[in-house]
């Protein structure tokens, strides 16, 4: 089974895999830079949204500044090809953290602030989770193809 998956993932040529990794990295750059700008430019509103969330509400100011700054740092890492592996892993971890928190909030029946801001402000929390899952899958694919290419080169 594992071999079959590996074969399937090795199916595209090294050049195609490289292009896929590039596209995944640029998609993350677009997502993170777009949402970071939105959060930074509406920092007051973003902070008040976080303040209403359970567990993290007390750290609203730190998170309101920290999350967009982290997104920008990850974007910069993703832009640099030699650091792309690190960037993809950081992006994956960040998306997993966001998604786990979203799933917890939805399943726990906590009060859900409805204004998330940014490109996904019009999505419901459930749609937001699926959106994140899509990006998690992209990050995993990017990491696998990036590793495959490096292994092939060695």
């Amino acid at each position: 089974m594992e071999t079959a998956i590996k074969r399937l993932l090795l199916l595209p040529s090294p050049k195609t895999r490289e292009i896929i990794v590039d596209i995944v990295a640029y998609l993350f750059v677009i997502l993170f830079m777009y949402t970071a700008a939105n959060k930074l430019l509406t920092i007051k509103s973003f902070s008040s949204t976080i303040a209403k969330m359970s567990f993290i509400g007390q750290y609203d100011l730190i998170l309101a500044w920290g999350i967009p700054i982290l997104e920008i740092v990850i974007s910069i890492i993703l832009i640099i090809p030699s650091l792309r592996k690190l960037g993809l892993r950081a992006a994956l971890i960040l998306m997993v953290i966001f998604t786990v928190y979203l799933v917890y909030m939805v399943l726990s029946g906590s009060k859900l602030p409805c204004n998330c801001g940014g490109v996904i402000s019009s999505l419901s929390w459930q749609q937001h989770i699926w959106f994140n899952v899509g990006f998690i899958i992209l990050a995993v694919l990017g990491i696998i193809f990036n590793n495959n290419n490096k292994n092939n080169l060695q």
Partner: protein
């Protein structure tokens, strides 16, 4: 693509994404403001009655209308929380209403 081209393209993509976001976020500052429907005796999102200005996010899940963007035209921009939306000379921004309810 060589490394330099990739970095250049990445910077370009990042700049465009940041710029587009900044443009769309800051654009409403001209004369479009977010008003909250706090008086549900007027449940129609397009009805200017029942809308009040709050600078921070005051929405919670559950409910049909929490807030919407309004172009206030020549009316004076809101300066403090709790200020009512002017009944005339204002234009509802289609599709801008956020579901939920005022906290």
């Amino acid at each position: 693509m060589n490394t330099l081209k990739k970095v250049t393209f990445g910077v370009l993509v990042a700049g465009i994404a940041f710029g587009v976001s900044a443009f769309t976020t800051l654009k409403p500052k001209s004369n479009i403001f977010n008003y909250y429907k706090t008086n549900l005796n007027y449940p129609d999102p397009k009805d200017p009655r029942g809308y009040f200005y709050y600078s921070s996010d005051r929405c919670e899940a559950g409910g049909k209308i929490c807030c919407a963007h309004w172009d206030i035209g020549l009316n004076i921009a809101p300066t403090y929380d709790g200020q009512a939306l002017a009944p005339t000379g204002v234009t509802y921004q289609l599709g801008s209403n956020v579901v939920g309810h005022f906290e």
